[in-house]
Amino acid sequence: MSTSVNVLIDALAKVLLGKEEQIKLALSCLLAKGHLLVEDLPGMGKTTLSHALAKVLGLEYQRIQFTSDLLPADILGTSIFNQTSTEFEFRPGPVFSQVLLADEINRATPKTQGALLEAMEERQITVDGHTYPLPQPFFVIATQNPITQMGTYPLPESQLDRFLMRISLGYPDPTVERKLLKGFNPRHDMDQLPAVTNSEGLAELQHKVTKVFVSDALLDYVQRILAFTRQSNRFNFGLSPRAGMALVQCSQAFALVAGRDHVVPEDVQAILPAVAEHRLAGSQDVTGHEGQRLVDSVLKQGDVIPGR
């Protein structure tokens, strides 16, 4: 089992050099059946990560480049009049795939964003009064540019909440950068990337995640963290129960990725920034990016050992 996870990580590490931490997080997110939001500046490898993930997991995937004139029908699909059968036929859109790569999601208008985010939550879509279930598994890996950039429509809190994790990749370290400058092309290696598993294998892994043991002591720790975000006046509002559940699920997935059968506080600490940052806002937060500092303070304030 863990070998399978390790193989996945190894394969991904081949295309995404020096980003093992982010790979583990992204993998944990998918193993916990959550949608992933990758946020970074252009050219940092967001698209590479999403493509590689879909390929390695052996899932069928579609990619949509979000633009400001993208319409909901472009994602969901439309009904077209068939002249031979004289009936309307539904042409499914790119959303009907196991992995949907939504590139630069914050470039689209809120209406289009809304259509996708609804599909994410319900895992089904409704067009012209007909409801069509989406394939299983269904993941959205969305990328976005920091909202301070020109021509973007920032996602509201409620929609950010649909993403289990938000991660960013960051600049590569010097050795990796040197390798890139020497002519290493991840896109090229991507084509040779093998499908390590398939949807059945993934489902099995996802089931294993739910079996990872969570002790009372660990839940105490998670609850201390939640309580801190709710009591401290540095936050606009505390973490919701849904965020608390997300914390536990992601910790379980991360523990599995790390090869353990039980969750330890380090797992919580590892996934907390990715899970909590986009759900937290400071009491005087303007940019929506204060979450990081707040999560740091959470990690400092909520101790692992009780009674201190």
Binding site: F213, S215, A217, L218, D261, H262, V263, V264, P265, E266, Q269, L299, K300, Q301, G302, D303, V304, I305, P306, G307, R308
Partner: protein, 676 residues
């Protein structure tokens, strides 16, 4: 009309306004019986006006109207009380201003002022009463006023009324321990100013003038006069003659204490006492007079007083609030056996210049017939009262100008004052010094507490006459005509047939209902405890407490004691709040062991960061102590697996152990083994 100009009106939250109106009403209500009637009308008008202003149906009064109201208010108080000074007039004036301020409450600051003023007006209630019920009421209103203050400070406009009330109650309850410390330990400084508390309210009670008829009025009152707590057995009713004052002058109609005898101090040399004293403590309700009732002969302790030649005790100031004092009474005593001072002799034998001729003659006849022996004459008079058609009644017929003659020869109906008056009159007619004593007789033993209740209806009059060689001898003429009045110790029997006592709410009537009577007694007991323990705690009692606590009473000692107790209270409260808010979590065995491990590392200067995970900390420590790397890792993994895994294992031996306790044991072992 001039437009009224005032600062922009502060939009008061509805809850705060409701609470404010309730506060004002509750604050003023207990004063109502003392206020001029017109002020009640003002009270109503102001409240309605203020509510209408809040509902935006009316405007605030313009400036000229306010000026008119203030002048009218001062004038009204002046006319009603004749002054604006003194407690009654002062409080009336204060309440007038307090009410008018409602119509001038524009800003938040004004509202705060009204709240603070409410506390002040509420506190003035203690000028008039310190009874238990009053204190409970004041406490309750204090909660409401505090709630108003809280509501005024709440930004949320739509809160329920009970929320600030609850906060206020909790706040005040938290202050109670501090209140107790200050009550017992804060030095009681006498008043710097004299409020002139001699109240203008007519109090029901004995007065220093007695026109037969007065006692009847008194007897209808079920008000408490005083309570007595005996150290030993309560003596029988016939020994319980509570001497309060002397009626030494008679003008033909009215007996009065004109002061001649009371101004002369008693002479200890003329006093002879025998036997063991009876010890007790008197808790006297306010009387508006000076006299302190006690059973003669008595020595008083614990109150400033003087004793007159007539053996009456006078407090050095008017008893306008409840007082208590310790008494030692010698039932067996003699005073002035050898003679009465000449001035007093004249006073005690003086009759009005004219009138009551038949009584004078009767007195002289009786004296002659008894051979010039005052005691034989007294016995003759008692016989006369007992054998002739004399009737004891609290509703005697009216007497004409010769009241003694009218009573003795015509009506023959009367109560203690009539009999005592006739007795003294005839004695004096015979030239024997005699005087009427006013006070209380008997009293009712409380069924629960070991104490005696003496009510106003226990008021009584009896006589003393002087016998050469024996001094003053007590005689109670009422005993001859209504012996049960003396033996039962209260008026109960005699009153049952009295038709004039049918006021539905008088305590006397309620006594007939057993349940109400019991309730009344229960309440009296609580009230008595309150009086005994709280109201009577004066500077004297406080000094005694200081002596017990400090030994030697010095200002530094008192300050230290106050600071220590106050500090202790604050500390305990603070700790309590800390503990309830952040309950100290219980550590389990593994945590304790791990803390031991951390402690060992701390001694070496390695501190675990707050929030640092066990495994990451282990990695850090392993880098510092590579030589102990293995054991540190095993400690951390053991602890981590105990805490977070469902099957803790002993990593070192690599085999599963049966239970958690084994893992904890090996954790303990490993930590003990670790020597840095």
């Amino acid at each position: 009309m001039a437009e009224s100009r005032h600062p922009p009106i502060f939009p008061m939250p509805r809850t705060a306004f409701v609470l404010l109106i309730v506060s004002v009403t509750l604050t003023v209500v207990p004063h109502i019986q003392r206020l001029p009637p017109w002020l009640l009308a003002v009270f109503g008008v102001v409240l309605v006006w203020r509510i209408q202003v809040f509902r935006q149906r009316l405007r605030f009064p313009p400036k000229w109207a306010r000026l008119f109201m203030v002048c009218g208010g001062i004038l009204g108080v002046l006319v009603y009380h004749g002054t604006v000074f003194g407690p009654d007039a002062g409080v009336a004036l204060l309440i007038t201003a307090y009410l008018f301020k409602q119509l001038e409450m524009y800003t938040r600051r004004d509202a705060f002022l009204v709240v603070i003023l409410s506390f002040f007006v509420l506190a003035t209630e203690f000028l008039f009463s310190t009874a238990l019920l009053t204190s409970i009421y004041v406490f309750a209103v204090m909660v409401v006023i505090t709630a108003t203050l809280i509501a005024l400070n709440m930004t949320d406009t739509s809160i329920a009324v009970w929320r600030p009330l609850k906060t206020a109650l909790v706040t005040i309850l938290q202050a109670v321990p501090l209140l107790l410390v200050f009550f017992f330990l804060f030095p009681r400084i006498g008043p710097i100013w004299d409020l002139g508390m001699k109240s203008t309210i007519a109090r029901t009670g004995l007065s220093d003038r007695m026109t037969p008829g007065d006692v009847a009025k008194l007897s209808q009152s079920a008000k408490l006069a005083f309570r007595v707590e005996f150290e030993g057995e309560i003596p029988p009713p016939r020994d319980r003659y509570w001497r309060a004052l002397i009626f030494d002058r008679f003008d033909g109609q009215t007996w009065s204490a004109q002061g001649d005898s009371s101004n002369i101090p008693y002479n200890p040399g003329y006093l002879k006492v025998a036997g063991e004293p009876m010890k007790y403590r008197v808790f006297l309700e306010p009387t508006g007079n000076n006299w302190l009732p006690a059973i003669s002969w008595s020595e008083l302790n614990g109150i400033k007083h003087r004793t007159s030649n007539s053996l009456v005790h006078y407090a050095s100031s008017v008893v306008d609030k409840p007082v208590s004092y310790q008494v030692e009474s010698y039932l067996n005593y003699q005073y002035e056996m050898m003679g009465v001072p000449r001035d007093l002799w004249r006073l005690y034998t003086t009759l009005p210049p004219m009138g009551n001729q038949r009584s004078i003659e009767l007195g002289r006849d009786l004296y002659r017939n008894s051979g010039g022996d005052p005691e034989a004459m007294a016995a003759a008079m008692m016989r006369m009262f007992a054998e002739e058609e004399f009737v004891y009644t609290l509703a005697p017929p009216k007497l004409g100008s010769d009241s003694i003659d009218g009573f003795l020869f015509n009506t023959q109906k009367g109560f203690c004052a009539h009999y005592a008056g006739a007795f003294v009159f005839m004695m004096r007619a015979a030239g024997i010094p005699a005087r009427m004593i006013g006070g209380y007789q008997g009293g009712e033993a409380h069924p629960i507490g070991n104490y005696l209740l003496i009510h106003q209806y226990d008021a009584h009059a009896w006589v003393e006459f002087w016998v050469n060689g024996k001094g003053w001898v007590r005689e109670d003429p009422t005993a001859a005509i209504a012996p049960h009045r003396i033996e039962l110790g209260s008026l109960r029997e005699s009153l049952d047939e009295m038709s004039l006592l049918n006021s539905p709410f008088s305590g006397l009537d309620l006594r007939n209902l057993p349940l109400m009577g019991e309730l009344r007694m229960m309440f009296d007991y609580v009230d008595y405890l309150w009086f005994k323990n709280v109201v009577s705690f004066d500077s004297g009692a406080q000094t005694k407490l200081f002596q017990q606590l400090l030994g030697k009473v010095t200002p530094q000692g008192i300050a230290l004691l106050l600071a220590a107790c106050g500090g202790a209270v604050v500390l305990v409260l603070g700790l309590w709040m800390l503990l309830t808010q952040k309950r100290l979590q219980k550590l389990d065995a593994a945590d304790k062991q791990y803390l031991r491990f951390l402690h060992k590392l701390e001694k070496m200067g390695i501190q675990r960061e707050l929030g640092e995970g066990v495994l990451s900390f282990s990695a850090r420590v392993q880098r510092i102590y590579p030589e102990h790397s293995e054991i540190i890792l095993s400690i951390s993994e053991l602890y981590s697996s105990i805490k977070y895994s469902d099957k803790p294992e002993n990593t070192k031996q690599g085999k599963n152990l049966s239970g958690k306790s084994d893992s904890i044991a090996s954790l303990k072992q490993a930590i003990t083994k670790l020597k840095l």
